[in-house]
């Protein structure tokens, strides 16, 4: 059986990639994808811990399903916002959308 540490390491790598993507990318769709990556890293953690610590029950799996559901809703909403943004500003670069200040 693959040891827990491997799962955790993979999850950490995925999460860090996500953080990097959110901070470094300028395209709104890529930022959104990076956020999805972070969510999946968290889901992986849930499932790994659940399988190792309490294999009789499916608590971790339920959480993962919840996260997937919420992520799907979030993506739906975020994509809609990005489409509106593109229609209005003809850009999906988050650096150019900086009027919400002062």
């Amino acid at each position: 059986m693959v040891p827990l540490e491997n799962y955790l390491a993979l999850s950490a790598i995925l999460f860090s990639l996500g953080v990097y993507g959110v901070l470094a990318r300028r395209n709104a769709i890529l930022v959104l994808m990076a956020v999805e990556l972070m969510l999946n890293a968290v889901s992986l953690n849930f499932i790994a811990f659940a399988a190792y610590l309490d294999p009789e029950r499916i608590t971790g799996a339920v959480f993962a399903i919840f996260v997937i559901t919420v992520a799907a809703a979030e993506v739906g909403l975020a994509l809609a916002i990005i489409i509106r943004l593109y229609r209005n500003r003809a850009t999906s670069n988050v650096d150019e959308v900086a009027t919400l200040k002062w």
Binding site: V22, A24, K101
Partner: protein, 636 residues
């Protein structure tokens, strides 16, 4: 009705005050007869109280006072009671206040006829009499202080009755503020006494002081503060400045303030608390000195006044000084005796001057009057009687009481106090003579004023005649036989006394009576010598003999100027500093300053909001990492 119901004396006018304030202006004649009715009821009810008290009173069996009280309020262990305390002092005050108030009310019907706010005048007269009656029967200092302030408010309202006139409002404010300075002292004194004894009841405090339960220094200090209140109310130097200005009020009010209500309150309180003053070492000396200085200064100032009412005002200040000298000499009876006789002849003189002012269409300058006796025989004659009483000529009331004051002063203090007081008495006789000659005798100075003058109606001369009779006969109550004939235990010195002093029968001291007569005659002769021939040549020469002294007297010893300077330089200077501090430190630095610091801080911080999402995301990431590191550091 017994003496226990004496509170009705104050309650009836107080109730009538409410009626007149609420409905006075809608009543026929604006309700003046209701005012006379109420104060008249008090005057009538005084007699059953007097009879009942005389039945009860027995000096040998130590039945000296009637005391009734009810619970007022209770807070925890603190029980406050209020009630009435009737002893001979109160009885004398009852008689004076009710009779003089009644006469003033009747006189006002004629004098105030056609004035605006006629109903309001009568309403406040009721409250004035009611508060004074409450003051003299209060058994505790708190109730006394309440009525004390009510008296002050009423005098403020009445002095400022003609509030359309700026000088009247100024005089009202001056009276109120000057007495207020003393009243603060009284309040401090009352609080100090309460702290020492735990009670407001006057007799209980006196009892504790006699047992020696109050520390000597503390007693002296609290009595000093109490005496400040008495000085303010009774217009003693240096608080005397308000009384002459109070002449701005209608003349009947002056009569009331000077004779029965306002100014005698201080004398009454000092008399009431005299046992405490006796135990507060040195206070009697202070009282005597204040009285002497006041009597002398006011005597001098009155020399150079040309307004009838101002002369009378300064004579009141002086006579109050005489009363304080009597109190300082330890004699309550003599002070109350002089208070009574003075009330009668001073009310007479003020109402008489009111009659003159009314008849001459508000002319009160002696320079424009003169030769009025022929035109106004009744006013002139009664005024003459009042003047003789004030000057202290026998057998009028003022002679006996002034003679007694000289006697107790001679016995209590050195001969110098006696000489100074005698000199003040000479001054009194002098300016009284001057006042009478220049108003009623001599040539007519202003023909136009003279032609329009007429004798006042009976509603005004009636009270004058009544008071003139009292001013003639009031002095005889000093004699044992007269007192006994009236139902008293004896003369006034056998009736009015405070234990542990013993009552004593008056015996005429022929040498002193002769001296008093000579003193009065010197003053009268000098006044007649200066003014009899109707020309001012002699008095002008006297004024030019020492211009510096004359200027000092005409400027009233610069008291007003001094106070004005203190207010202008001291008070306004201090206020300027306070205003500066308020404007620049409190307002600009404190209030506006904190707002500006916050505003500028916000201006600087708002640039953190870039509006770029990655910046915020970076903030979140750095925050989370920071928290994680901090958490690790704490755990490890």
């Amino acid at each position: 009705m017994g003496a226990e119901q004496a509170w009705l004396l104050a309650a009836i006018p107080a109730g009538m005050f409410l009626v007149l304030v609420l409905f006075g202006r809608y009543l026929p004649r604006q309700g003046d007869y209701l005012g006379i009715l109420a104060i008249g009821a008090s005057f009538v009810l005084f007699f059953p109280v007097l009879v009942d008290f005389l039945d009860f009173f027995d000096a040998e069996e130590a039945r000296l006072a009637i005391h009734e009280s009810i619970a007022w309020s209770e807070v925890g262990d603190f029980h406050l009671r209020m009630g009435i305390y009737i002893d001979p002092i109160t009885i004398v005050m009852f008689g004076v206040v009710t009779s003089v108030s009644l006469m003033v009310n009747i006189f006002s019907v004629g004098y105030m006829k056609g004035e605006p706010r006629y109903w309001w005048f009568f309403a406040v007269l009721q409250l004035f009499a009611a508060s004074m009656l409450l003051l003299v029967m209060a058994d505790n200092l708190l109730l006394l202080y309440i009525s004390w302030e009510l008296v002050g408010v009423c005098s403020f309202l009445l002095i400022g009755f003609y509030w359309e006139k700026r000088s009247a409002t100024e005089a009202a404010k001056k009276a109120f503020i000057t007495t207020r300075i003393g009243d603060v002292g009284l309040l401090i004194g009352i609080i100090l006494l309460w702290r020492e004894t735990g009670t407001f009841e006057i007799q209980e405090i006196i009892h504790q002081a006699e047992e020696g339960l109050i520390g000597g220094n503390m007693l002296f200090l609290s009595m000093l503060f109490v005496f400040l209140g008495c000085m303010g109310k009774s217009a003693q130097v240096p608080f005397h400045v308000w009384l002459p200005d109070a002449m701005e009020g209608p003349t009947p009010v002056s009569a009331l303030i000077h004779a029965a209500t306002m100014v005698v309150a201080g004398v009454y309180l000092t008399a009431r608390l005299l046992p405490l003053f006796e135990h507060a070492g040195g206070m009697l000396m202070i009282i005597t000195i204040v009285g002497l200085v006041t009597a002398l200064l006011s005597g001098f100032i009155a020399f150079a006044q040309t307004d009838i009412k101002k002369v009378l005002a300064y004579s009141t200040v002086g006579q109050l000084g005489f009363m304080f000298v009597a109190l300082g000499s330890g004699s309550v009876a003599v002070a109350m005796f002089h208070l009574m006789t003075h009330a009668f002849f001073k009310a007479l003189l003020f109402l008489g001057s009111g009659s003159v002012i009314h008849a001459t269409h508000h002319n009160q300058e002696m320079d424009k009057l003169g030769g009025l006796w022929r035109k106004m025989p009744i006013t002139g004659t009664t005024f003459f009687i009042g003047c003789l009483a004030l000057a202290g000529l026998p057998p009028l009331a003022g002679f006996w009481s002034k003679d007694e004051i000289l006697l107790v002063t001679r016995d209590a203090w050195t001969v110098w106090a006696f000489v100074l007081l005698a000199f003040a008495a000479i001054c009194t006789a002098f300016y009284t003579t001057r006042l009478f000659i220049r108003t009623f005798l001599g040539p007519v100075r202003d023909q136009q004023v003279h032609d329009h003058t007429h004798e006042s109606g009976f509603i005004m001369t009636g009270p004058l005649i009544f008071l003139a009779v009292l001013a003639c006969l009031g002095g005889f109550v000093i004699f044992h036989e007269v007192g006994e004939a009236l139902g008293f235990p004896g003369g006034i010195t056998e009736f009015v006394f405070l234990p542990p002093h013993e009552p004593h029968e008056y015996e005429i001291d022929w040498a002193l009576a002769g001296a008093s007569l000579v003193i009065a005659l010197i003053g009268v002769w000098f006044g007649a010598f200066m003014y009899w021939n109707g020309s001012l040549a002699r008095s002008t020469r006297l004024a030019e003999w020492n211009p510096g002294l004359y200027a000092l007297i005409t400027n009233k010893f610069y008291f007003d100027d001094m106070y004005q300077a203190v207010i202008d330089k001291g008070l306004l200077g201090f206020s300027y500093v306070v205003a500066w501090f308020d404007r620049y430190v409190v307002n600009d630095t404190g209030v506006d300053g904190s707002a500006q610091v916050t505003g500028y801080g916000g201006y600087l911080l708002k640039f953190l909001q870039t509006g770029r999402v990655p910046n915020y995301a970076m903030g979140i990431a750095v925050g989370v990492v920071g928290l994680a590191i901090a958490g690790l550091a704490v755990t490890l």
